[in-house]
């Protein structure tokens, strides 16, 4: 979390050192054509780019038939989620936008780019030609919600700090309640209707949120001096790490029901989630342990000397430093988990990839593999890149890599 006070300078402004500035030609000369071999490399690269990109772009803009994506857009986004209940997903998104706006104003008042993301991306999406009027209105509401959050945060940054934390903690349960529903207020939408990007995101978000604390516990457990806790942690981590995720998912889908008594049936989306969480926790634990190893012993000794308890030492001295050190690794793990969720397609769930294959079986769109797979690749890339970008900003904000 980025809840660090923006640094206040009491004394006069410190001027940054002057930066180098170039004209376009100057920049080109310095970076691309400074010597004859650079020039040659640049030209060769440009030529390769030209021969690769030209047919690709021609295909994308003139030959590809994007009708398959336009017609099935809803399927790609939310799978078979009932049309009359889709507003619930929008409410969850608006709440997210509001929270993000609030967080932006309170924690990063100077980060203009996040503001641009929050406002212009939804507005740009609202301007897309082929989306429904309902989605268009909702993207505008999304932008407005972000703006309201930002306004509130700017207006009363101190007073809004606590509500923001509450919102962040409560968001996840609210999200699940909204999407699953709760009788008699919201109609229950069974998990077999969850699909597309919605299912992919849920699997990823649940996987990340739950496996993260689990991984920290396992990492602490592995370094614990209690033999049973330590043995259990080591066994768990090493067994899970020795098995591919596909195997874990197959175990969850195929073996688990065979072991359970015939009357008890566990929802198969839940089984996939559990598989992903258990798998990811083991990797998370090793990442966190790496961070823990990097903390010099002097830190905990100093904490003990100050009279802090074991709990306080671990959670206020060691862990914050350790986690800060492993942000890039953790984000790496998150991104890989996000993409790994596509493996649930082979156990029969219709996530983004699963929906893609079922769309390809529609009689009117047989043989549109290129369009469909390119489209979902783009979606995966956008989300993975957004995560990577956010982690870079987080590292800058926390000063990782500057020491």
């Amino acid at each position: 979390m980025m809840n660090r006070e923006p640094e206040q300078y009491s004394s006069g402004e410190v001027l940054a050192p002057p930066t180098e500035r170039y004209t376009v030609l100057g920049w080109l000369k310095k970076n691309l054509f400074s010597t004859w071999y650079y020039t040659l490399l640049t030209l060769v690269t440009l030529y390769i780019l030209y021969i690769v990109l030209k047919p690709t772009l021609i295909w994308v803009f003139t030959q590809a038939q994007w009708q398959v994506v336009v017609v099935n857009l809803r399927l790609f986004m939310v799978g078979q989620y009932p049309t009359d209940q889709i507003f619930r997903i929008w409410v969850a998104l608006h709440l997210l936008a509001f929270t993000a706006g609030l967080a932006w104003a309170i924690w990063l008042p100077r980060a203009r780019r996040i503001g641009a993301f929050l406002l212009f991306i939804p507005l740009a999406l609202a301007a897309l030609p082929f989306i429904s009027g309902f989605s268009r209105i909702n993207w505008i509401i999304f932008a407005v919600a972000a703006l309201i959050g930002w306004g509130l945060g700017t207006w009363k940054p101190k007073a809004m700090r606590r509500p923001l934390l509450v919102l962040l903690l409560a968001y996840f349960p609210i999200l699940i309640l909204l999407i699953l529903g709760i009788e008699p207020i919201l109609k229950i939408v069974k998990t077999n209707l969850w699909g597309g990007l919605l299912l992919t995101m849920l699997l990823a978000v649940v996987g990340i949120t739950v496996s993260f604390p689990l991984g920290i516990l396992l990492a602490l457990g592995r370094r614990s001096e209690l033999p049973i806790v330590k043995l259990f942690s080591i066994l768990y981590i090493e067994i899970i790490r020795g098995v591919p995720l596909v195997t874990v998912l197959f175990m969850a889908q195929l073996m688990l029901p065979l072991f359970l008594p015939p009357q008890i049936k566990i929802d198969n989306v839940l089984r996939a989630m559990a598989g992903i969480i258990l798998f990811s926790a083991a990797y998370m634990a090793e990442n966190v342990r790496g961070g823990l190893q990097a903390i010099p012993k002097g830190q905990s000794e100093a904490a003990w000397a100050l009279g802090l308890s074991g709990f306080q030492t671990t959670f206020f001295i060691i862990l914050p430093q350790a986690l800060r050190n492993v942000i890039p690794v953790l984000v790496n793990q998150f991104i890989s988990l996000f993409k790994d969720t596509s493996l649930v397609a082979i156990v029969g769930l219709l996530d983004l990839l699963g929906i893609a294959s079922t769309v390809l079986a529609q009689p009117e769109f047989i043989g549109k593999q290129r369009e469909v797979y390119l489209f979902i690749a783009l979606i995966y890339w956008v989300f993975s890149y957004a995560m990577s970008y956010a982690s870079r900003r987080l590292e800058v904000a926390l000063g990782v890599g500057e020491r």
């Binding site: 065979l258 008890i264 989306v269």
Partner: protein, 373 residues
């Protein structure tokens, strides 16, 4: 470490578990009266036996208590099972799920589809996650015996076929002497091809690939003279070629692939129901009764056989544990075999698959239903 650490860790763990629980909460179809949001569905203990064996009559009771049928399908097979742009399941196999639901409930929509991959389909059936598996599953002796399953009447006779270019002049298997044939590796298709060609003494060069996409890509590039897979697959793939009309499917069939619904062993009543739902669609076609004229026929008919089919006499449905209008509902809401076939695979679709073996016995096909009487 102090005790508090453990309290804290305990709380964290419980939180984690709770979150996980919330995350996947599965809902039974809750009526307005009950909140039945549970992760774990506990169904009334209907069978006392093991996972695989279902007792007589228990499946129908479970389905009726639940209020809907759970049908295992393929969500990714053109013509047989897919999700349309409105989010509804469509296809030949899917229609048979609707037919079973119509027979039981008089409402074809009372069915929940469970998309299954080839690997998990039998486990899902054995563990009772699904009531019936209608997912282009070939009936073989091994599957019928080892897996604790029963195969109901075949709904689609598939077989391995060969696709060639029209201008190649190839019209029968013997013409393939010396030809290069594209085939997916590691499949029964590859073995069937080898067996059949060896039996006929035809010399050919197999060109093997990992996936069907690669196989057909290579064929289109002209790297082989012919390509082989199941005929239904050839038909759906031919549509994707640049000029579908330049390619023909040879008449020769290299293997038998009878596809049909599968149920658990042990519940003969349920097995009978699935069988007779399929037979009802055959009989409907034999008698010329379809979804459009069924009401007319029911009102006017004097034919005792038709009357038995439509539930006007003989109480046929009760013998199956269903209402007497079971077959009427199947034909009324889903259609007879010809209608189901035309809707999903016929001339109005991109596949335009000839009926061939899948014609009624009266037209020289293999569809032959025992009499309903």
């Amino acid at each position: 470490m102090s005790k508090r650490v453990f309290y804290f860790l305990g709380v964290l763990l419980v939180l984690g578990v709770l979150l996980a629980a919330c995350g996947g909460g599965q809902a039974s179809s809750g009526g307005p009266e009950a909140v039945k949001t549970v992760i774990v569905t506990v169904e009334a203990p209907s069978s006392g036996g093991s996972n695989t064996a279902a007792g007589y009559g228990t499946t129908l009771k479970t389905v009726k208590d639940r209020g809907y049928l759970i049908c295992g399908v393929n969500a990714q097979l053109p013509g047989f099972g897919y999700v349309d742009d409105q989010g509804n399941y469509k296809g030949f196999d899917v229609d048979y799920c609707h037919a079973v639901a119509a027979a039981i409930f008089g409402d074809p929509s009372k069915v929940e589809f469970r998309p299954l991959t080839a690997k998990e389909r039998f486990t899902a059936l054995q563990t009772g996650e699904i009531d019936v598996l209608i997912r282009n599953t070939t009936w073989t002796l091994t599957r019928d015996t080892d897996l604790g399953t029963n195969f109901a009447a075949t709904t689609f006779y598939d077989g391995q076929g060969i696709l060639v270019r029209k201008d190649s002049g190839i019209t029968k298997l013997e013409d393939l002497n010396g030809a290069k044939i594209c085939v997916a590796t590691g499949t029964t298709t590859e073995l069937n091809l080898a067996d059949q060609m060896a039996a006929r003494g035809i010399d050919y060069t197999p060109v093997v690939f990992e996936t069907a996409d690669q196989v057909f890509g290579a064929y289109e590039e002209g790297r082989c003279d012919a390509v082989t897979t199941d005929k239904s697959g050839l038909v759906s793939r031919r549509v994707t070629l640049k000029n579908p009309d330049d390619h023909i499917i040879l008449d020769a069939t290299l293997s038998k692939e009878p596809l049909g619904p599968v149920v658990r062993q042990g519940d003969d009543q349920w097995y009978d129901i699935i069988n007779w739902v399929v037979f009802a669609t055959f009989t409907g076609e034999e008698m010329g009764i379809n979804s459009k004229n069924v009401d007319d026929v029911k009102a006017k008919t004097d034919d005792p056989n038709v009357k038995k089919l439509l539930g006007l006499e003989g109480e046929m449905g009760q013998k199956l544990g269903l209402g007497d209008d079971w077959a009427y509902n199947v034909i009324k809401y889903v259609g007879n075999y010809a209608e189901i076939y035309e809707r999903n695979l016929g001339p109005g679709t991109p596949f335009n698959l000839p009926r061939g073996l899948n014609s009624s016995w009266k037209d020289g096909g293999l569809l032959y239903a025992p009499p309903i009487r």
